[in-house]
């Protein structure tokens, strides 16, 4: 273990591009964030926003070519992992950084017994002998709540259900007690009652082991209950960065506000139209450089948004927003959330309907 306090992971101005026939896709374009020990960071975005590429960059798993980490630093444990050799990186992956992917079936080897797949990791990284590794595999399955672990450890992946396979993935990811767990849409392929089980499991494991977690998802509900901080990504950029509670209570970016309002509210009134962000996500290969990538879909758009790339505005010590009008949007959110807490029955979605202007014809 290196320095006890401070950041476990620091990503600075990361840029990951892909060369395609269609031109250069700037999948991740200048992203910076810090992750403290024991913290959970949620990365939220729609498809194509760059959230998964960010994760793959941190793992150094970008396929090259066509991908390329063009610039930036990824400081893990005080060491820039972009300068490490592939062999050194392999030492970190699986040992200090564990990963869980969306689809457990394609991430597990279908021809290999679960026991073997779990043993491989500890034999490789911790130097366990066969016996130790086997016992550890059973212990891990038990930890992630697989009933009768001893009897099932020699099963093949297809003998497990989707939720069980995801538990196996988590067991693998946590085998070496990593300091960082990256979970990329860990529950998207699962049913809602199974999703609740898996999220509960990640939460408990995090509490017991103190692992830091990066949780990547498109589901605002999932990050609301799981993360301490949230990054909202759009078109390869960080659009907003904030502590979780503040992001939901007082968003400072029009895109975040739109996303929050377009999710059906559990307390909603029937028959009321949902707020909708108009238009489509942009084509990242053909983004004009000198404008806000969200301008065409934004309710607060002005000429300047189409002329100049927006600044990353500091709203307070921990809250940042990429917008020409970040301060105004933030203040407006404050007014709305005050109105809400003051007991006005108008839900946020309703008060904004008139300014939204996003009603589909």
């Amino acid at each position: 273990m290196s320095s006890q306090n401070g950041n476990l992971l620091s990503v600075k101005d990361l840029r990951t591009y892909f060369e395609t026939e269609d031109g250069t896709v700037r999948a991740v374009d200048g992203i910076s964030f810090d992750l403290e020990r024991g913290e959970t960071l949620g990365i939220v975005g729609e498809s194509g926003s760059g959230k998964s590429v960010t994760n793959l960059s941190v793992m150094r798993l970008i396929p090259e070519p066509p991908g390329r980490i063009v610039s930036g630093e990824i400081i893990f444990h005080g060491q820039d992992i972009l300068t490490l050799s592939p062999e050194e990186m392999r030492q970190i992956r699986g040992k200090q950084i564990g990963m869980i992917f969306q689809d457990p079936m394609t991430s597990l080897n279908p021809f290999m017994r679960i026991s073997k797949q779990l043993m491989e990791i500890t034999q490789l990284h911790l130097g366990y002998d066969k016996d130790q590794a086997y016992r550890h595999a059973i212990k891990m399955l038990d930890t992630v709540g697989i009933p009768d672990a001893e009897a099932r450890v020699d099963s093949y992946p297809h003998e497990f259900s989707g939720g069980m396979r995801q538990r196996v993935m988590i067991a693998m990811a946590l085998s070496c007690e990593p300091e960082l767990l990256i979970a990329d849409e860990p529950t998207t392929a699962l049913d809602v009652t199974i999703q609740a089980q898996i999220l509960e499991l990640i939460k408990n494991l995090k509490r017991d082991t103190g692992t830091s977690v990066i949780l990547i998802t498109h589901d605002l509900g999932v990050v609301a209950g799981m993360s301490d901080h949230i990054i909202v990504m759009y078109a390869g950029k960080v659009f907003e960065q904030s502590p979780t509670r503040e992001l939901f209570a007082q968003p400072g970016n029009p895109y975040t506000k739109g996303l929050l309002k377009s999710v059906p509210d559990p307390a909603h009134e029937h028959g009321r139209e949902l707020y909708q962000i108009p238009g489509l996500p942009p084509d990242v290969a053909h983004l004009p450089p000198n404008q806000c990538p969200f301008a065409e879909r934004c309710y607060r758009v002005e000429d300047i948004c189409r002329r100049e790339f927006p600044p990353f505005v500091k709203l307070n010590d921990e809250h940042f927003s990429l917008c020409h009008f970040a301060g105004e949007v933030y203040a407006q959110s404050r007014v709305e959330s005050d109105a809400k807490t003051a007991g006005a029955n108008r839900r946020v979605a309703g008060t904004e309907a008139s300014t939204g202007g996003g009603t589909q014809r």
Partner: protein
Amino acid sequence: MSTQGIEAGGTGNMPPTLMPEAGAEPLIAIRELKVHFDLGGGTAWDKLVGGSPVKRVVKAVDGVSIDIFPGETLGLVGESGCGKSTLGRAILRLTEPTSGQVLFRGENLALLSERRMRQYRRNLQMIFQDPYASLNPRMTVSQIIGEPLDTFGLARGREGEARIRELMETVGLSPRFIKRYPHEFSGGQRQRIGIARALAVDPDFIVADEPISALDVSIQAQIMNLMARLQRERNLTYLFISHDLRAIRHVSDRVAVMYLGKLVEIADARVVYDDPLMPYTKALISAVPLPDPELEATRQRIVLQGDVPSPINPPSGCRFHTRCPWAIQACKDVVPPLTEIRPNHFAACIRISPDQPDIEQVAPGDAPGLRNPGRIIAQ
């Protein structure tokens, strides 16, 4: 208590309506509908060659009775494998029902010949989940939307093209794209094409099977709003099938919950979410993550143990008893009937009854539903 079936009361061909306002005629009345898939096994031959020693049947839909009223959106939720999509497909006879009735304006669709059924499809349309797989990649938008117009001889030539343009505008697509192919559109736009195709024949009833599940969050809202507007303008009736409980709540007037081939609860959407009665529904609703950190921090979740059992030879009695925190011995033996626990609120659970609707208050081991089931609408 195995063959109680539908409560008596209706005479002649039409069974009694199941909700809501008295006097309203259902557009679609489904009675004891079963869709079973035979996987074989259990024969002398199977024993000889080492096949399954028992006959294996997937009871995807197993005795479902429900009414769908004109102009309403009935939301159908459940987890994968519960039979919700099969039910939707069986109504339109895209999957053949094994037994039971699907009454559309009094006519039993389940008994119609292929040919007569084809005529009825003009009234009954479907929107599919995957806007990539459900559109023919070799057809232009004009051909895709025009095909049903052609099939039913509704409009041809110039008139047909005018209809197609009008339909494209209706669903928010620019008629400029009429000669384009599906791959030139995004997922949300393709779903609009699928909706335009369903609307082309001016149907009364649309089964929408996971219409927003493949779409991004910001696009989901667009499609839900579009469907709501079309419903108002054209007085459409929807069966909206989804596993997304937040979306279902938003779009539905009433919500029906399925578990392993059975309906386990039906009520007004708000009632199902605010006051679920059946333990499975309680767990399902409590498992939905809410986009509100304050609420999430204080919420009590019912986290179910274990997985959904296989629909092949499902559990006896109440199919939920293997995961239910309130299950007692009787739950393993008795198939709970769908019972009217409160007015227009039906649930299938023997541990509750009209007198004791709250399972938390019921004495341990007691099954008041066995003593006083009240009105039963289906087994």
